[in-house]
């Protein structure tokens, strides 16, 4: 299947062509966001400070390729090839230097001075959010994320056994709970995600 066959329209924007191609794999909006999330994860492994931006660069290139009629048998694999090329180019032009410029250790001292108080406030917010989540969720969070090392593995096996679910299912449940908890803390603290 190519974007250049019947369905494609030369007047369309590349983004539309990409969405149309993704529609083959499922609902295009969901598929687009899923692909973007995977690309962000890919770039995060290498250049975490620029992962979102580079994922969008890769998606733009992918969209243009599809719009130009390039045959793409597997969108994820083609996207991976583009992502690797974008990464190579980024490294070549000194991405590490730019990453260093946004190194958190370089932030202004005035901001640093708030850290201690904010950590205390975060602790209070976290306690409140755990209480609000309910006793079962609170117990799961503290048990799942409370252990270390070998005890961590044993604890999670016990938790999964007690609930009669697989470790994978437990992991996904804990992750969802944690994301919810983090969202709650962010809201209580007035921390908004950057644009």
């Amino acid at each position: 299947m190519t974007a250049g066959d019947g369905e494609a329209n030369a007047a369309d924007a590349p983004f539309d062509a990409l969405l149309r191609r993704l529609r083959i794999d499922g609902t295009e909006g969901v598929a687009y966001e899923a692909l973007r999330a995977r690309l962000i994860r890919f770039f995060r492994m290498h250049v975490p400070a620029e992962a979102d931006e580079l994922a969008d660069v890769a998606l733009d290139r992918l969209a243009r390729k599809i719009h130009q009629g390039t045959e793409v048998a597997s969108v994820p694999l083609y996207a991976l090839g583009i992502a690797r090329m974008v990464l190579h180019e980024t490294r070549a032009r000194g991405a590490r230097r730019r990453a260093a410029e946004v190194d958190p250790t370089m932030l202004a001292d005035t901001e640093e001075s708030r850290d201690g108080a904010e950590t205390e406030a975060a602790l209070s917010a976290l306690s409140g959010c755990l209480d609000a989540a309910g006793s079962e969720a609170r117990a799961l969070m503290l048990a799942y994320y409370g252990a270390d090392g070998a005890a961590r593995i044993a604890m999670r096996q016990n938790l999964a056994g007690e609930r009669g679910i697989s470790l994978n299912a437990l992991r996904n449940r804990a992750l969802r709970l944690r994301e919810s908890l983090e969202g709650c803390v962010r809201r209580r603290m007035g921390w908004t995600d950057p644009p």
């Binding site: 995977r38 001292d109 201690g116 503290l142 994320y145 983090e182 803390v185």
Partner: protein
């Protein structure tokens, strides 16, 4: 494809996998949504270990690069620190960032580079100990008491401010970590603690420890030597021309 272990995922996150091993994982990341979730879970466990100071030096440096890159990451880290404290794993006093080298902090290089190097290496060395004075309370591995860690940085010497430190009541041993200037690796130091002109503790011929550009000496001090009150902590480079650095700290019991 063989399912990678959690240890393999962690090595991948820490950039410790060879490219030929990382490549198939990258491909799976793009093709398999569930695998992305697994990686996210592995990163979250790494974040928790980072927040708890449970990584070795090499791991800390790589983890800091990954886990503090964006404002969103730093928010996650703050929350991980709070969670660690709630579950009894984290230092009692934490900061996400480290400060600056002061006028009394003499490292080679430009001020900006020096500051970044000092901050980054200290970040890597101590995970998340305090900027000026860190207090890290944990169960001692050698006896039934509690052990706390106090970190004194070069920009907190006498003439600036007196650092106030709360020492938890259960503490029996205080691990005192004091930053020293760059110098000969064979240099030895004396550390002494005085209160009201009376020497309460002294250790000699202390070797320097290093983590990146962060150089420090460390001694275990009985908590009784730092009972409530104002103390002078002095570190002297031993040799023909001794040089010393002094900190004033005021302790009180929690």
């Amino acid at each position: 494809m063989i399912e990678p272990s959690d240890a393999t995922l962690r090595r991948w996150l820490l950039q410790q996998l060879p490219p030929e091993d990382a490549a198939p994982l990258e491909q799976r990341l793009l093709e398999d949504a569930d695998f992305g979730e697994r990686l996210h879970a592995a990163e979250t466990d790494l974040l928790d270990d980072f927040a708890r100071g449970h990584l070795n030096e090499t791991e800390r440096a790589a983890a800091a690069y990954l886990l503090t890159a964006t404002p969103r990451d730093r928010i996650r880290l703050r929350i991980a620190i709070a969670l660690a404290r709630l579950t009894g794993h984290a230092p009692a006093a934490l900061r996400l960032r480290h400060a600056s080298a002061s006028a009394t902090h003499r490292h080679a290089g430009s001020p900006l580079r020096r500051r970044r190097a000092a901050a980054a290496s200290l970040f890597a060395a101590c995970a998340l100990v305090a900027l000026v004075v860190g207090l890290n309370l944990r169960q001692s591995g050698t006896h039934a008491g509690k052990e706390a860690t106090i970190t004194l940085l070069a920009n907190q010497q006498r003439g600036m401010t007196t650092a106030a430190i709360t020492i938890p009541r259960a503490t029996t041993t205080i691990r005192m970590q004091v930053e020293v200037d760059a110098g000969d690796a064979q240099q030895r130091y004396t550390l002494d603690i005085e209160q009201g002109g009376r020497s309460l503790f002294a250790a000699h011929a202390i070797a320097v420890r290093e983590s990146g550009s962060y150089r420090f000496v460390e001694v275990a001090v009985p908590a009784t030597a730092l009972r409530a009150g104002e103390h002078r902590v002095r570190v002297v480079a031993e040799g023909a021309v001794p040089s010393e650095s002094t900190w004033l700290i005021r302790t009180h019991e929690e």
